[in-house]
């Protein structure tokens, strides 16, 4: 016998209502509601983050994926409307053509050499300039610094003509012509890669002003006491810079080195302006542009013309296919290098807030 059986109908109804109200009150509990709200907000934000990350990854990875798939697609498949991403006939023909037409290995070596040496000079000049602007106060140093910063704002096209002329007739206060039978020397031209080194060594390299700014900001943050203690020990300015400041600047050096290297590697503007690339001294960026422009003629002159049929050779799709493969080949060393220096690269971006 249960207690419920002894209750009247009204009492049972009242009991049911009471229980129902208690459950509903529990469900409406503001504390629980807040906790649930927080949980939902957490889950929603996590979901949103995931969607954003997937979207961003897609935006970044999709072109690489597409480029890879295009590179492995046989040229005969370029007009096949059924192929969107995955090739029907996998082939290395595009790579064979791209490697041979761009003189890939030679271009790669030259580009690597130019980028590496430029990076070293960029590092040396911008670190010194940054240190000078941070620590060595002299009359007009701030004006000078802001003039350097001005070069960051001014587009390189503004100074292009004067630079090209200056390096075509390079002279320093008439000293060079004095010892060169009255003639200035032309630093600009095919194979004259030292123009990049001169520019980098004199703080005029690609976005050098940005690097100077980064170094200046970093050195300004280093405690003065460190330098003072070095000076008490008898160190001069250069010695302090070399032994005290530079070892502490590992992070900013890495950042600058990475960006200087990548930007020089991808540079088209200065390379074409100074006409450095030639058949004897090919550079990757210019080789891609040249082959894309003259692909038909280049193929006809080489023994590669038998690899693809005549109608495919004439197609603009084929040109873009080969240009795409060349671009992929150009990216490849950086992608491989990125796998090794990924941590440093991300650290650099985090530290400076700049992206390449």
């Amino acid at each position: 016998m249960t207690r419920n059986n002894t209750l009247t109908k009204e009492q049972k109804k009242a009991l049911r209502k009471e229980r129902y109200d208690a459950i509903m009150a529990d469900l409406r509990n503001p504390v629980k509601k807040a906790v649930r709200g927080r949980k939902i907000a957490g889950k929603a934000s996590s979901l949103l983050r995931t969607i954003v990350f997937i979207g961003l990854s897609f935006v970044i990875l999709f072109p690489i994926f597409q480029q890879l798939m295009l590179a492995f697609r046989h040229p005969n498949d370029i007009n096949n409307p059924l192929i969107v991403w995955i090739p029907e006939h996998w082939s290395l023909v595009n790579f064979t053509i791209a490697i041979q037409l761009t003189q890939y290995w030679k271009s790669l070596l030259n580009t690597f050499r130019v980028s590496l040496i430029t990076t070293v000079f960029q590092l040396a000049s911008t670190a010194l300039a940054g240190y000078a602007f941070a620590r060595l106060k002299f009359k007009g140093s701030n004006i000078l610094f802001w003039m350097v910063m001005l070069t960051l704002i001014i587009p390189p096209q503004v100074t292009a003509a004067s630079r090209a002329l200056y390096f075509s007739n390079f002279d320093i206060f008439g000293l060079i012509s004095l010892f060169n039978n009255g003639e200035a020397i032309a630093l600009r031209g095919p194979g004259k890669d030292y123009i990049f080194y001169i520019m980098a060594a004199t703080g005029q390299g690609i976005r050098a002003s940005l690097f100077i700014f980064l170094f200046r900001q970093f050195f300004r943050g280093v405690p003065v006491e460190l330098e003072e203690s070095a000076q008490i020990d008898g160190a001069g300015i250069l010695r302090t810079f070399w032994s005290v400041m530079l070892p502490n600047a590992r992070g900013v050096i890495t950042t600058v080195a990475l960006f200087a290297f990548v930007w020089q590697w991808n540079d088209v503007y200065y390379t074409s302006m100074f006409a450095v690339s030639s058949s004897e001294f090919p550079l990757l960026t210019m080789q891609i542009i040249n082959t894309a422009e003259w692909l038909g003629n280049l193929l006809l002159r080489s023994d590669l013309k038998y690899l693809v049929s005549a109608d495919v050779r004439g197609s603009s799709m084929f040109t873009s296919l080969i240009a795409n493969t060349e671009a992929f080949l150009m990216m490849l060393p950086l992608l491989i290098a990125y796998m090794f220096v990924q941590k440093l690269f991300v650290e650099g971006i985090e530290r400076t807030g700049i992206v390449g």
């Binding site: 109804k13 049911r16 459950i23």
Partner: protein, 225 residues
């Protein structure tokens, strides 16, 4: 010793649970569908199915919940005890559900067939669809509410199901997805429905909603007199 360690192993527990689910599934099939299968050309077994299906589903929910709570490991006796315990309420709810389903399907058919005739039909069509969605949310929660909160009236069960259905909409949606997936599987592969097609979704739903319901049901459990 070897027998002991086997009985404690994960594989044994999984197989034990699968066996339970299969037995429960067969119990529901025998009670609700055996006559329908034997007399497939007759209409009257449908009445038996209508009178027993929802109570047996509720009973299945209760058996699985009790097992999850660690209260009762048996299958047969609790199943029939709960079948009897919840029978009246379940039958009343079945009548309400069937009547609502009939009305909603009728409304939908009428509004859909006259969709292009007037704006009222368009509004009625979408309104009916909205009501159907709400009804599905309520229906999905109904057995769970019945087995977790005892001693409430039919109207209170329906209201509470609606509240629980929309309290955690993602979970309810997942529940609908599971039921939908098993319904489709059962239509395509009837053998799956025969073996585990009813008890497995019930188990999954109980497991998914366990935490949400157990806190409330423990707090508001009916005192044993």
């Amino acid at each position: 010793m070897r027998k002991d360690s086997f009985m404690k192993s994960g594989i044994y527990r999984i197989l034990d649970y699968v066996a339970r689910l299969v037995i429960l599934n067969v119990l529901v099939l025998i009670i609700s569908f055996s006559l329908l299968i034997v007399f497939s050309d007759q209409w009257w077994p449908l009445i038996i199915t209508g009178l027993t299906f929802f109570p047996s589903i509720v009973s299945m929910f209760k058996v699985i919940k009790d097992y999850e709570d660690g209260k009762n490991p048996s299958i047969f006796k609790p199943f029939f005890v709960n079948f009897g315990k919840y029978y009246v309420k379940s039958i009343i709810l079945t009548v309400i559900i069937l009547a609502s389903a009939f009305l909603l399907v009728n409304s939908l058919t009428v509004f859909a067939s006259n969709y292009n005739e007037s704006v009222a039909n368009i509004i009625g069509y979408y309104l009916t669809i909205s009501v159907i969605i709400v009804a599905v949310f309520v229906l999905i929660q109904l057995p769970l509410v019945i087995v977790n909160f005892e001693g409430l009236s039919i109207i209170q069960y329906l209201k509470l199901s609606a509240v629980m259905g929309f309290k955690d909409i993602v979970l309810s949606f997942l529940t609908i997805v599971i039921v939908g997936a098993f319904l489709i599987t059962a239509l395509v592969y009837p053998i799956v429905a025969g073996v585990i097609g009813i008890s497995l979704p019930v188990y999954l739903i109980t497991k998914m909603t366990y935490k949400r319901y157990s806190l409330l049901s423990d707090k508001h459990a009916l005192e044993e007199e």
